[in-house]
């Protein structure tokens, strides 16, 4: 687009849409990182080769899109315009998909998703229970867009909001619209975005910066990555609007190093946006200049904290600093800076285009809009889900997530990553928004939602998170540096059966000290996983300390593996698979585990055939009995 302006952008949009036959079959392949891990690249390449070989370019379009969200069922292939949803597609299926579905409009039942409850096979993507209850206003376009093709985004009304913002609205009007929408920061804090922008706008300075925080470090959370990978232009568009409203001319996207595809796609998207006159000098012919740099993080969790992140961009250690002054006053290079998370930026174009009145219809009184959660762990339908704020945990976990894996019992859901907490079963009917989660002792955080079942030990989970924050603590504040270390030591001791009664009190005291004595969010929230597990799962702590037993049969030092002589058929499977040769017994003889040699890796339990199920785990008194019996022999 030479010398771009709003009119030319609209003309281009019309041209793109007119040149595309809406009824032409389009095979879309999910190209998110999850599907990559399943090998979608090879699937996409084979489709391409076959379409070329059979000279079907005039009949079939092929598009590798962003993440569809239903990672559990990857590789995912959706045939448009009908929206036929094929899951777990293999290379062998490709010719059949082309000949039957793409050319013949015939469904292949074997590739459809089967609802485990009704055993009904479902044809259309939107009818799949996983998607049905979602409200995918941010994430929905991922499935229709090739993130490397800016025209796909433009075709779906992309950059319309920028054009409206720059030519029809004053910066103040934009800020008041965003304020009216009630949008709150999706990175964890939940601060009102419009308010944040206003403060930064009102700070007097000729030089201002905006930053997109894409240093998504919470383990088990990957929604920001999927937006960067799958729909990078929506983030760029949000940032242009934000920069215009605030009066910034330079922006940064700070991306986590572990997300190579996101770095690649966002970098390419920036190039394209510049080429189309949507970034750089006089955007769309207006008098507004703005450009964005990509900064690749270097693997430090603390750099997700805003002041640390800015230190990192400046080429220093990612140490947080005292606030105030807040970044809106003194940020990057000491200049006023506004920093928002990926998902927050992606909300902005929608609010500008459709209006705050439309946006506020979604969500709860105090939390507007939708939230993308990464629903993972012991759940049947692992994936990314976007739901209106206020949906209950039960709806998310059971209706969308399909319930707990292997028919096990739900125990807890962990939200908010290492800064969050574990929410127990009796809170399943809580509507989820910023405030209800805080009241429960957890936080919304960036949107990780890790489901835990009866086999998950809550003391071990607390230890896991504390270990994480302890390792990632930058070391600046003594209570965080030493306090988390002490807490890990105590928790480790408890999981090893060496816990003392006073440990609970010690943990609570340390938690208070770490919370109150730390400068940044990392330390201030680090004790949350411990405090919530103490609050809701005290029985497990007590069992570990008093009975030396792990109720979830998970802590290695508190369990033994045992082969039931009544059930063992002597099939040799466990013996062959034991990595330390701790199992004795010949074919058709009862096998026995040598408890002195056993390293408790669980290999025997994994391989023992389900109909035999002779291997089991024991703790507490039963463990004692088995060990005594073993010692007698």
């Amino acid at each position: 687009m030479k010398k771009a302006d709003p009119k030319k952008l609209e003309e281009l949009r019309t041209r793109i849409n007119e040149s595309r036959d809406k009824n032409k079959t389009c095979i879309t392949i999910c190209g998110g990182t999850g599907c990559h891990a399943y090998g979608c690249e090879e699937i996409a390449q084979t489709f391409k080769d076959e379409i070329e070989k059979q000279k079907l370019e005039d009949n079939i379009d092929l598009r590798v899109t962003g993440c569809h969200g239903f990672c559990e069922r990857g590789p995912i292939v959706v045939i448009q315009p009908q929206g036929i949803f094929y899951q777990r597609v293999k290379k062998e299926n490709i010719n059949e998909i082309i000949s039957k579905t793409a050319l013949g409009n015939e469904i292949i039942p074997g590739l459809l998703y089967e609802d485990p409850q009704t055993e009904e096979k479902i044809e259309k993507e939107k009818e799949v229970p996983f998607y049905k209850k979602q409200r995918r206003i941010i994430f929905g376009r991922n499935g229709f867009i090739d993130p490397t093709d800016i025209q796909d985004y433009i075709a779906l009304d992309g950059y319309k909001a920028v054009s409206q913002a720059l030519f029809e609205r004053e910066p103040e009007e934009i800020i008041s619209e965003v304020k009216k929408s009630g949008l709150r920061g999706r990175g964890g804090g939940g601060f009102l975005t419009g308010k944040k922008w206003e403060i930064c706008r009102n700070t007097d300075s000729s030089e201002k910066y905006i930053i997109c925080n894409a240093d998504e470090g919470d383990p088990g959370a990957y929604m920001d990555r999927s937006l960067l990978e799958g729909n990078p232009h929506s983030i760029i568009e949000g940032m242009i609007i934000g920069a215009y409203a605030i009066g910034a001319h330079e922006g940064y996207i700070y991306v986590r190093l572990e997300y190579p595809l996101a770095v690649k796609n966002i970098t390419l998207a920036l190039e394209k946006a510049r080429e189309y006159g949507l970034l750089g000098k006089s955007i769309l012919g207006s008098d507004f200049d703005f450009d964005i740099n990509v900064f690749k993080g270097a693997g430090a969790f603390v750099s997700g904290e805003e002041t640390s992140l800015m230190a990192s961009i400046e080429g220093r250690r990612a140490f947080p600093r005292q606030r105030p002054p807040y970044p809106a006053d003194k940020g990057l290079w000491g200049k006023p800076t506004n920093i928002n998370n990926v998902e927050t930026w992606a909300n902005v174009p929608l609010i500008i285009e459709k209006g705050a009145d439309w946006y506020t219809q979604i969500g709860t009184e105090t939390s507007k809009g939708t939230k993308i959660f990464s629903l993972v762990g012991k759940i049947n339908n692992t994936g990314l889900v976007e739901v209106p704020m206020g949906m209950t945990l039960r709806e998310i976990i059971y209706d969308i997530g399909g319930g707990i894996k292997d028919g096990k019992k739900f125990k807890a859901v962990q939200t908010g990553g290492p800064s969050g907490g574990c929410i127990p079963v009796d809170m399943l009917d809580q509507p989820i928004d910023f405030d209800t989660l805080t009241r429960a002792g957890s936080i919304m955080g960036s949107g990780g939602m890790i489901v835990m079942d009866e086999d998950t030990c809550m003391v071990d989970v607390a230890r896991y998170f504390l270990k994480f924050t302890q390792e990632e603590s930058c070391g600046k504040c003594v209570p965080c540096r030493i306090g988390t270390r002490e807490m890990v030591d105590i928790l480790t001791r408890i999981t090893k059966g060496r816990g003392e009664k006073e440990d609970i009190k010690r943990l609570k005291e340390l938690a208070e000290t770490v919370k109150n004595g730390s400068l940044c969010g990392l330390g201030q929230t680090a004790p949350n996983p411990v405090l919530t597990t103490l609050r809701y799962f005290m029985d497990e702590y007590k069992a570990h300390i008093e009975q030396k037993s792990c109720l979830a049969l998970s802590c290695k030092d508190l369990i033994v593996y045992h082969i039931d002589p009544e059930k063992c058929v002597g099939c040799l499977l466990c013996k062959k698979n034991c990595p330390v040769n701790a199992i004795s017994g010949e074919r058709k003889e009862v096998h026995v585990i040598d408890q002195d040699l056993c390293i408790k890796c669980g290999a025997c339990l994994d391989v023992c055939p389900p109909k035999v199920s002779a291997v089991s785990k024991h703790t507490g008194k039963e463990k004692q009995r088995i060990l005594e019996e073993h010692n007698k022999k």
Binding site: T33, G34, H36, A37, Y38, C71, E72, G74, G217, D218, P219, G220, A221, Y222, R225, L257, E258, Y259, F295, K296, G297, A298, G299, A300, F301, S312, I313, E314, G315, R316, R317, A318, S374, V376, G377, K378, T382, G383, Q414, G417, G448, I450, M452, T456, V461, Y464, F465, F468, C474, N577, P579, I599, C601, G602, A603, D606, V607
Partner: protein, 157 residues
């Protein structure tokens, strides 16, 4: 080194970019590299060292021929990643973060790769192994060794 440094202006803000580049090209950051970077940016060696050791992305020692990465994200953790890591560690006889004596394997952990549907997940030189159990560990190690052998055979023939 000179070639790399030429691409960057002598400003402090370039430090992390330079370190990324050196790490990617050389596989680690040597004392000589630290010295040259510090001269280029007019900083002390101590400052460069301080920044590079703060971040996980940079290493002071070369890695082994093959890198085995175990995802230790929360989803993988609750699905049994610690047992898988223990088994790798036991078989390779090294703790996570180290390289075997023959410089063949480096065992690493990562906080999360965001492929949670496949957890526990093991990545060997960029290849994903999903739903890994302790029983798969030997198989995965053999596979990596086999591929090495295959390549070697191909080169010889």
């Amino acid at each position: 080194m000179e070639k790399i440094l030429k691409q960057f202006s002598p400003e402090r803000k370039e430090l992390i970019h330079i370190l990324h580049k050196v790490q990617a090209e050389n596989g680690f950051i040597s004392p000589e590299a630290i010295s040259e970077i510090s001269q280029h940016l007019n900083m002390s060696e101590g400052e460069v060292y301080g920044v590079l050791t703060f971040y996980n992305a940079f290493t002071l020692e070369p890695k082994g021929k093959h890198t085995i990465t175990i995802c230790m994200g929360t989803a993988c953790h609750v699905r049994g990643a610690p047992a898988v890591l223990d088994e790798f560690s036991r078989r390779l006889d090294i703790p996570p973060g180290q390289t075997t004596e023959d410089k063949y394997f480096t065992l690493e952990t990562v906080n999360c790769v965001g492929a949670c549907a496949l957890g526990p997940i093991v990545i060997t030189d960029g290849d994903y192994h999903g739903h890994a159990t302790t029983n798969d560990v030997k198989k995965i190690l053999d596979q990596v060794k086999d591929e090495k052998q295959k390549k070697k055979n191909n080169e010889e023939s």
